[in-house]
């Protein structure tokens, strides 16, 4: 019964979405306040209905209702509760329901917190947002209904893909979707502004927190996915340039560009049409990502569905929204005349360079990702574009960004003197150079790229510190340190996010450049040396029973070269009998400066076990940097100017009492 109600609520939500996409838009066009105002209750209703529907599906999963074909295909009574819940979105239909749930949540948030928006803009934003929701409700109901019943329910389900039964992956999709879908708000604001024919500083201020939030969620989502790959896939890779990973990287890059260019709109009223275009493209890449994942057109680990009908529907959604928005852009962008002027050396120019590098690197990733399709379609060449291409093509952009970032961040608006910024950055530069040279000296004979990467990451972190310190003004060091804590949160957020980029870069560079690997047949009682550690296989237990799997479990001692035991690791190999699938669980000793990473292989005919050991320097810094970046985003998001805006929305103060522009 609850399941039927959930299905019904979904159909109702679809109808509300269609209503909300038309009436407020017409109202805004005619200047009819009542018609515009219906957008608010409609947005809330839409969200509540979708939430109910999602709740009903979750209920079916938790109670293992195998009369639902989706539950049968993706769940099992023995599965731990957390994975019963995460199983809701561990499949095509459920993940789309999560997608629209988040979409309607963002729409509702725009209604709840958008009190200081001009009514016509707000009505249009909500209508555009609702049109996206309507398209996806239609997609779910017509091609991917999660509420399909089975005529004869089985006794038990077929279990969730064991690779997905993992805490890292349980929360990876929701964050990623919060990011993808969060960019829909930027899109709706852009299209609404195009319809209104007006973009100004206030628009930049409204659109930036949404973009920032979406970017933070994308950052966390990508970080979680990468962390999962690191410990789960059994050899410690963290990025594979898989089409699905690229699908999440592209909107991340564009969102990063967008949230920087929106600053220029907000502070200087320049780069307006470019920012609008970025807002459209950012969501476009989210849709492309959805298309790539959901259609399975580029085969990869993540493709749940391999169904052309669904692919074509998403392609139609993509075509409609991108085609429509870009057409509108072509018609109206001319009216978005820039106002602020700036000289060649200025913060504005720095941000143009930032946007250039981020946007071009995004397009490079895009071309590489779709190239196999293009080559097959036009030249009938079946070829692969893999990590070697992406590494070669994207690395220069990363290095370029790292070089200019600290300088650009220090330049004042309008007109700057490059010498002044450089003088302030001199200590950071010297430090980076020294660390780079030191690294090169220690690891003689290895490629020069790694020391350069190390130097650049030091440059980024030291540059961020310099930036923050410079903001405290002049005076005694003590006075400046005191002022440091009173700086606006946005300044701290900026410095943290920029430093986070450096920390992640450092982890990536050191891990790829200086990891130690050992592959051998290990026998019990025969210790051996890997890097600065002594490894000994103590024993292997077979047929260890887990909740829904059978495990082969090794005990491995990790010692210092003097023989002091550091830890015991238990690398595992599991078999999930229901799904008939094996997985590896590496034994990892995570540390601040290195991870000891051990994976168990096959038993050998002549006795012993294949054992792989890696010493991975600074592995955790990759995700540490990601967390720092996200934290910087959150701090910036909680800055006073946005809180003031939110407060104005809640207070019954006169409508439209907005924040004065800086």
């Amino acid at each position: 019964m609850i399941v039927e109600l959930g299905h019904f609520a979904l159909i109702l939500a679809f109808m509300v979405a269609v209503f909300q996409m038309i009436v407020p838009l017409v109202g805004a066009h005619r200047g009819n306040a009542a018609w515009m105002a219906v957008a608010d209750p409609a947005a809330t209703t839409q969200f509540l209905l979708t939430a109910f529907s999602f709740g009903a599906l979750t209920y079916a999963f938790v109670t293992s209702d195998f009369s639902l074909s989706l539950v049968t295909a993706n769940s099992h009574t023995l599965k731990p509760l957390i994975y019963k819940i995460s199983g809701v979105w561990g499949n095509h239909e459920g993940s789309l329901l999560l997608w629209v749930l988040i979409l309607t949540l963002f729409g509702a948030c725009a209604s709840w917190f958008g009190g200081n928006l001009p009514p016509s803009l707000k009505a249009r934003v909500l209508a555009v947002q609702s049109s996206i929701a309507a398209a996806f409700f239609g997609f779910i109901l017509f091609t991917s209904n999660p509420f399909t019943r089975l005529e004869v329910p089985p006794f038990d389900g077929r279990d969730l893909n064991p690779l997905l039964q993992d805490p890292g992956l349980a929360f990876h999709p929701p964050f990623l979707y919060l990011g993808y879908v969060g960019l829909s708000m930027a899109f709706s604001f852009a299209v609404a502004a195009l319809i209104e024919g007006r973009v100004d500083a206030a628009w930049g201020r409204w659109v930036r927190p949404w973009t920032l939030a979406a970017w933070v969620f994308l950052t966390i989502g990508i970080g979680l996915g990468s962390w999962w790959a690191y410990y789960e896939l059994g050899w410690g890779g963290f990025w594979f340039w898989d089409p699905v990973e690229n699908a999440s990287l592209m909107p991340w890059l564009i969102a990063a560009a967008l949230l920087h260019s929106a600053i220029v709109v907000e502070k200087r009223e320049s780069l307006k049409s470019w920012t609008i275009l970025l807002a459209i493209l950012a969501f476009g890449f989210s849709l492309i990502g959805t298309f790539i994942v959901r259609s399975g057109v580029l085969t990869s680990v993540h493709a749940f569905a391999n169904d052309p009908e669904r692919g074509v529907y998403i392609l139609m959604i993509l075509g409609f929204f991108m085609g429509g928005a870009l057409l509108l852009f072509a018609l109206r962008a001319g009216a978005m005349e820039a106002k602020g002027v700036f000289s060649t050396v200025s913060r504005e120019s720095g941000l143009v360079v930032n946007n250039l590098l981020l946007a071009v690197s995004c397009f490079v990733v895009f071309i590489g990702t779709v190239w196999p399709l293009i080559a097959e379609m036009f030249w009938d060449r079946t070829l692969s574009v893999g990590p070697p291409f992406f590494n070669a093509a994207v690395t220069p952009f990363v290095l370029g960004l790292a070089v200019v970032l600290p300088i650009g961040a220090m330049l004042p608006w309008k007109r700057a003197k490059i010498g002044r910024a450089m003088r302030a950055l001199a200590p950071a530069f010297v430090l980076a150079l020294a660390v780079g040279l030191l690294t090169y000296a220690i690891y003689t004979g290895t490629s020069a790229l790694s020391p350069i990467g190390v130097a650049l990451s030091v440059w980024l972190v030291a540059g961020a510190v310099t930036d923050l310190w410079t903001r405290t003004g002049r005076g005694s060091a003590g006075g400046r340190a005191g002022r440091l804590w009173r700086l606006p949160r946005a300044d701290w957020g900026k410095a943290l996010a920029h430093a986070g980029v450096g920390v992640t870069l450092f982890g990536v560079v050191t891990l790829t450049g200086y990891q130690v690997e050992d592959i051998r047949v290990a026998r019990e009682g025969e210790p051996y040396q890997v890097g600065a550690y002594e490894i000994e296989l103590l024993g292997v237990e077979e047929n260890v029973q887990g909740p829904n799997y059978i495990s082969t479990l090794a005990h491995v001692a990790v010692r210092t070269l003097e023989g002091r035991e550091i830890t015991q690791l238990n690398p595992e190999r599991r078999i999930y009998p229901v799904a008939g699938m094996p997985t590896t669980e590496a034994g990892i000793d995570s540390g601040f400066t290195r991870d000891v990473y051990i994976a168990l292989g096959d038993p050998q005919a002549a006795g012993g076990w294949a054992l792989r050991t890696w010493i991975k320097p600074f592995a955790n810094w990759i995700w540490g940097g990601t967390i720092i970046m996200a934290l910087g985003g959150f701090l910036s998001l909680s800055d006073r100017r946005y809180r003031v805006a939110a407060g104005a929305a809640k207070a019954p103060a006169p409508r439209g009492q907005g924040v004065p522009a800086e």
């Binding site: 391999n306 071009v360 070697p388």
Partner: protein, 162 residues
């Protein structure tokens, strides 16, 4: 997806991939018995393997893959190296047998040149446009600068009170 043969081949690969995944015990890539005694040759073998696609896997190189076919290819690479082939000869040997699809780094020939030139071309194009934009903004800088701020404020205020 043009010819039916390609999609069929894809489908077959997918099927093989699924079956292999289901049967393979997770061992993880290079086995101890594959490792060559000569560390220089082994290093070269690893380098070559990282650039070759495991044909039955989803986006994995033979160096990372557990599949039987990947093991066969790894052994083949090492055999050729021990026989004295250069890196290029080994890769050519594999490409002769398995086609261009096996290369994770597409060759710079024919239409693929477009792919390899795209990053530089896009950067030049975007860089040129940005430069023109920055120059234009800079030229109009001198006269209107003073008048800007109050006007901006007024318009914003106007808008917010709307």
């Amino acid at each position: 997806m043009t010819g039916a043969s390609t999609s069929l081949r894809r489908a077959a690969m997918l099927l093989v991939a699924t079956v292999t995944l289901a049967l393979a015990v997770p061992a993880g890539a290079v086995q101890p018995d594959e490792v060559l005694d000569n560390p220089v040759l082994e290093e070269r073998a690893r380098g070559i393997s990282a650039g070759l696609r495991c044909l039955v896997c989803r986006n994995e190189s033979i160096d990372e893959s557990n599949a039987t076919l990947a093991r066969d290819l790894r052994l083949m690479v090492r055999e050729r190296l021990v026989a004295g082939d250069s890196d290029e000869e080994v890769v050519a040997y594999i490409v002769d047998r398995y086609g261009e699809y096996v290369l994770l780094r597409p060759t710079m020939t024919g239409s693929t040149i477009v792919l390899w030139l795209a990053p530089a071309a896009l950067l030049l194009l975007g860089g040129g446009l940005s430069l023109v934009y920055i120059r234009k903004r800079g030229r109009s800088a001198a006269p209107s600068e003073a008048a800007l701020s109050p006007e901006e404020q007024a318009r914003l205020k106007d808008l917010l009170h709307e």
